[in-house]
Amino acid sequence: MTGALNLDRGTAYARRGTFATSQNIRERVLIIDAMSLEQLLDEELLEQYRVSTSADEREQYINELFRRNYARVARWCLRSTDDRESAADLAQEVFAKAYQNLYSFRGQSKFTTWLFVIAKNHCLNSVRAQSRQASELVAEGGEDILVELADGAPSPYAAAERESSARLIRSLLQKALDDTEKAVFTLHYGEELPLDVITRMLGLQNQSGAKAYIVSAKRKLARLVKTWKARGQHEAV
């Protein structure tokens, strides 16, 4: 590695905790000397990759950047597919996309967050393409929630006439469900992800995984609707 620049190593470390804007990454890169690749932040590796004129150095920077993120992307893809061969292919595609778009990274977030967006979108598209989610929703009784919500004259349905139904539903979820239930509910009904994928993706380690959260979410929502009906609090939502 060439790059013989004077380094104020203390300054470089001192700035590490700060939010990495494109400008201060560039400044830091200029004062970094012979720091080993392992010591560089992801964002610094990427900046070095961009500014280096040596093809060999560029290779080293990008290889290091990708290698330190292999496990993270591999884990995500594995959780999306539950099959290591497919996951390896998915992960390869994620890194290919990342490589294609390296110059669109503006340093407004951490590199891993940027990579997360690519991995998430790619894997969710893949999962959706493979799942027969529409039939799953019916089979799992997803519609009964909607029936509950829409059922009866003095009900939240009346409120939906005044407010957008989207706001109503969000409000119901907010009132009834805890954070994990909301996340599972959103990914299942909003993203159309199968429950086993959600279980792995969110790292849920309870015995029945996401299914347990969907069951409890539906139960809580039904209870809430029932309470409203009993009290006639159509306006409460």
Binding site: A55, A71, D89, A96, Y99, L149
Partner: protein, 252 residues
Amino acid sequence: MLNKDNLKAALATTPECLTPEQLEQVLQKNHSTPHLDQCPRCQAELAMLKAFASDTPLPEEGAAVAWISSQLDRRLNEIKSEAKGHAKGPLRQAAQSSWIVRIFGGFSWALPAAAVAALAVASAFLLRPEKAPKLQAGLETQRAIYRSQELQVISPVGEVQQVPTELRWQSLEGSSNYHAVIMEVDRSELWAGETRNTSIEIPTAIRAKFLPGKPLLWQVTARDGKGQPLSTSQVQRFVSAGAAASTGTPTK
């Protein structure tokens, strides 16, 4: 009316939803925002980002993650060369200029000098006295392969809308059967089959592996009656845009 579409709309991203950068800030500083508190979509995104950022493997996934990582390391050059073909802007420029930089480094004068030298060599070659080519003994005993005898593939080639159900190629005179193979982009064999026809059906189990956007390769070899290869097609690349067609009843 509340229906599935309304539910999906309620759970979709809104203009007020947090950007990935904002979610990252929430995660780092461990504080919430009024919108986040009210928005199941943002909470789901945050849960996913948290899971992605976490280095803690789930039980029994460590070995698979290590295997995938090793595969990625093995395929790293392939990832980059594949991506360069699709790159835009500076990356493509860098890719195109990198070989020049690698060969000539900082010697910018070397490129025109090399061009002049190449021109001189070419001139010397073209201006040399012509000699009649020697006749090759035993030429008549060798089997001549003409361009028209190259095995030509028909489909799938390039980007296809649907997942292909079969491989098709043109008939080759003198061939007894054909051996077709589908490969991953690293040339590892995904599936192979033999037929006497000029097409072969791809098994459903294999088609299920054709993910949208995932490039695959295939090649066919014509063989004579003794099983000797007569001609092999070029390796064809294809990418299916759509998902595999459902072939059975959806299950729970």
